[in-house]
Assembly symmetry: C2
Homo-oligomer: 211 residues x 2
């Protein structure tokens, strides 16, 4: 299934979920595919197509029940459970993630923090003691880690990725500015803020050419 679903469809499901939750908070009980479409700048047909990939929701003309559709999307995205996350890299970006309320709310719990710097190892991050990065395989086993967040420098990323794969990790959120080579059953999502700025730089430069 997951092979057939495009990244952009998954992204839209995340957006639908946010709209539904907000609508629910505002006391709204049903929404149409049109409402959802308008909010994220797509078409009603696209919304229906996205949702039809996972079954049949709502009734034609009646719209979707806000609570039921939100629940279904949470189940589709695997957000009807909690995930155990290990953070590798106890730097600034790591700290911002560690304190990010949105992660906990959505079901992602930090169960370990690791760093290669002996100065940082042993320090407390809330209720966690920072472990040495080389211990990643043990940490993954001890804490039944599901997801590894890589917030390390580019030169360190491949080494940590090897440790993570060795430990059987199949999902990695990568903040290091490098392409990780992984086996087929590992999913890596890259977040690279500098590259996003480079894309803006490109757009600004070539926008100016057009003027």
């Amino acid at each position: 299934l997951s092979r057939k679903i495009s990244d952009s469809a998954i992204r839209r499901l995340s957006f639908y979920l946010r709209i539904l939750e907000q609508s629910g908070d505002e006391g709204v009980r049903t929404v149409s595919s049109r409402d959802l479409a308008k909010r994220i700048g797509t078409t009603a047909a696209q919304v229906r197509k996205d949702l039809s990939l996972f079954g049949s929701f709502g009734k034609r003309g009646l719209g979707y029940s806000v609570t039921k559709l939100a629940e279904s999307i949470r189940a589709i995205l695997g957000l009807d459970r909690r995930w155990r996350v290990a953070l590798v890299g106890a730097g600034r970006i790591g700290a911002a993630l560690f304190d990010h309320e949105g992660l906990r709310i959505r079901g992602f719990d930090f169960v370990a923090v690791l760093d290669a710097d002996p100065e940082k190892v042993g320090r407390r991050w809330r209720n966690l003691k920072v472990r040495d990065t080389s211990e990643l395989p043990e940490v993954v086993r001890e804490h039944a880690v599901d997801i590894v967040i890589l917030a390390v420098p580019a030169y360190a990323a491949a080494g940590v990725m090897d440790l993570a794969e060795e430990a059987g990790i199949r999902a990695v959120l990568n903040f290091a500015p490098t392409t990780l080579r992984v086996s087929e059953d590992v999913t890596v999502r890259d977040v690279n803020m500098v590259m996003e700025l480079e894309a803006l730089s490109f757009a600004l430069s070539h926008g100016e050419d057009r003027e």
Copy 2:
């Protein structure tokens, strides 16, 4: 031009540039499209195609000059100049970005920090005094801001975006978990860490189905 170049091609240019710079540091003088391709897991044909969009580099069989190709890609990406960045949102994510060495190295300079919280306004962030978010249009004019980074909560994002557009900003890096509606000549890049984790949750959930 920029309309025809896919996001993924721009992303690859950013990766080529990193590989070239690293190769240069290691004393390598020429690279082939094959070398570049291998490093990011694509084909030599793809590399040649990406580069041919912007002119002719290197000679068949001789490979590319590392320094010249890096210089050309920097020019293509608009990284042969410096960009003036305003950060809106003086929270954890804002702080991580503000201290991110990679941004400065690549030519992105923070010229202003703004926040809507009166507690934060007036505080010093290195040599900058935090300004009130409502002053964004003046700040953009005073400091000739090119790019706005939005690191504010979802509910505040649309309001700040309106101010930014009013001030003539055409490039926004958005960390708020919401879709911004902007006019055609504004480029928005979204970075949403929770949604990336949701995509991993999806992959893990449906991976398990397959087993």
